[in-house]
Amino acid sequence: MALLKTENLSKSFSGLKAVSNLDLEINEGELIGLIGPNGAGKTTVFNLLTGVYAPTEGSIYFQGKKINGLPPYKICQRGIGRTFQNIRLFGDLTVLDNVRIAYHQHVTYNTITGILRLPQYFKGEREMKNKALNFLKIFDLDDKAGELAKNLPYGQQRRLEIARALATKPSLLLLDEPAAGMNPQETHNLMELIRWIREEFKLTILLIEHDMSLVMGVCERIYVLDYGMVIAHGTPEEIKQNPRVIEAYLGEGLSDAGTE
């Protein structure tokens, strides 16, 4: 059974079809790429999947249950974690707090216990801190735990975004341009890391990326989006040879027109 499935998914912004008739199918354990020229509607797809936008038409099934119409926090609690293309960290909070907040949905004590400082509070906080530090260690950020997120260099902010998304304990992870702004070496390391966390956390990953070497290197299947429609999908080899993809990317002049 597919972990995530969309049927006829469409989103219009007052007449402009940002995504139209999208049929995605992602199986458990897969690593799927979603590519396309600027403005093809990739991030809109993410926003639809995570409930930021309500679809105009169509439905989204996650683990066999319909999830469109649910608010973002419920979708996250069902097990879809995400990162943002334009980094959205909790800038004035420490790196540790960023991850702890993502872990909040699994908190083991209630508000009153927290205020009264009952034993469960200390136990819960200790657990939470250890788990958060573990996530930070994976991303090589544990020595930055006390720093404010906004003071981190760009590459580390990107990694913190992934660490934070992982702390929500997702079964499906959506990565929106995780390698944006990274140099080739950093991109390569990130690729290794993505492969590793997939094994370690038994994740299914859907990633948007412009860096073709990253997409072709790690993804098993790729969907290509242009003007909100899937123009091709298949293995990296198939995609590389697909004439429509080549046209969309290199075709008639620059294909930076379209929707944002």
């Binding site: 926090y73 907040i101 993502a102 909040h104 949905q105």
Partner: protein
């Protein structure tokens, strides 16, 4: 047994003992000076007002500084607390504690009812809506003839320094503990980035309403203390100017800093008491002070930092827990 011991050590560490000791010292010194007559009634009143304003400022800070919701209706919740506690202590002749609890709970209830619809609004829209709601409360009591209406309502004085001081401490500890728990961090994440908070599984509406309700509850408690101290309450006291005054204290001290709010409440209340002899200059001086602070420290006196006792070289590391 070792678990129990560990728990005891987490509560009774050196930092908390020092804080408790300092609080006892402040309490004792003021009470002592008052008993031997060094501290006159006027200064006592000022200090009790400082306690009341600390509760108001810290609870406003929870809503505005920590959760990031610009709500300007605190005087309304204070009025509800004041009138409802006076209703219990005067009309029902109940105990002061019953009055304070009833006042705080009614304010909290009003907070929930107001919060659920208005917290959908953002920024200045929320400010306008809550401002209006504060005024509605005032006008309601203005026409509430059962409790005096516009002429005001007499309340016998049962609050003294002991009550005011320790209730203030209780309020600050509860709000500080809340902020330093996972639920408090969820509130702060709403301030930091609402979209990201939602995407991380935080029910932002719930935490906005929760912070708003806790804030309203403590504003109600402050109102109850005020009513049972002041002999006399009237709706005019709880106008939107009072809400602004509280907001100014919070901004002065620093949004997102508990110790800043305590400082802000202290400076503003003592400042206006010291300037009581020059009523015509008072507002001018306070305004100039505010302008200077906003020029030189735009984030308030404390920014979003807390005043900590770390310089005492407290050996206990780890948990940044507990009382300020």
């Amino acid at each position: 047994m070792s678990n129990m011991e560990k728990y005891r050590n987490q509560l009774i560490n050196r930092k908390n003992i020092i804080v408790l000791f300092l609080l006892l010292a402040v309490y004792g010194v003021v009470q002592g000076l008052f008993n031997i007559g060094v501290l006159g009634n006027f200064y006592m009143m000022t200090l009790i007002l400082v306690c009341i304003y600390i509760i108001l400022a810290v609870s406003q800070n929870l809503i505005t500084g920590f959760t990031g919701q610009l709500a300007i209706g605190h005087a309304g919740f204070m009025a509800i607390g004041a009138y409802m506690s006076a209703f219990v202590t005067m009309k029902l002749e109940g105990h002061l504690v019953a009055g304070l609890i009833f006042g705080a709970l009614m304010a909290a209830l009003a907070g929930i009812m107001v919060g659920i619809p208005t917290l959908r609004l953002r920024g200045d829209y929320l400010a306008i809506a809550t401002l209006g709601l504060g005024e509605i409360v005032r006008i309601f009591f203005l026409n509430f003839n059962y409790m005096g209406g516009a002429t005001g309502f007499q309340v016998s004085k049962t609050i003294n320094w002991t009550w005011a001081f320790w209730l203030m401490v209780l309020s600050v500890v509860v709000i500080t503990n809340f902020i330093n728990s996972s639920h408090g961090r969820a509130c702060i994440s709403v301030r930091e980035n609402e979209i990201a908070a939602e995407a991380m599984g935080i029910n932002t509406t719930k935490y906005k309403v929760l912070a708003f309700t806790i804030g309203a509850m403590f504003a109600g408690l402050a109102g109850g203390i005020y009513a049972n101290y002041m002999y006399f309450i009237q709706p005019g006291t709880f106008s939107f100017l009072k809400s602004f005054e509280i907001l100014v204290m919070v901004v002065l001290g620093g949004l997102g800093s508990i110790t800043g709010s305590i400082l802000g409440a202290g400076i503003m209340t003592i400042g206006s008491a010291l300037l009581a002899d020059y009523p015509e200059m008072r507002m001018v001086i306070i305004a100039v002070l505010l302008i200077l602070i906003m020029v030189f420290r735009p984030n308030g006196i404390m920014g979003n930092k807390e005043f900590k006792l770390n310089f005492l070289d407290l050996k206990k590391k780890g948990e940044e827990n507990g009382t300020t």
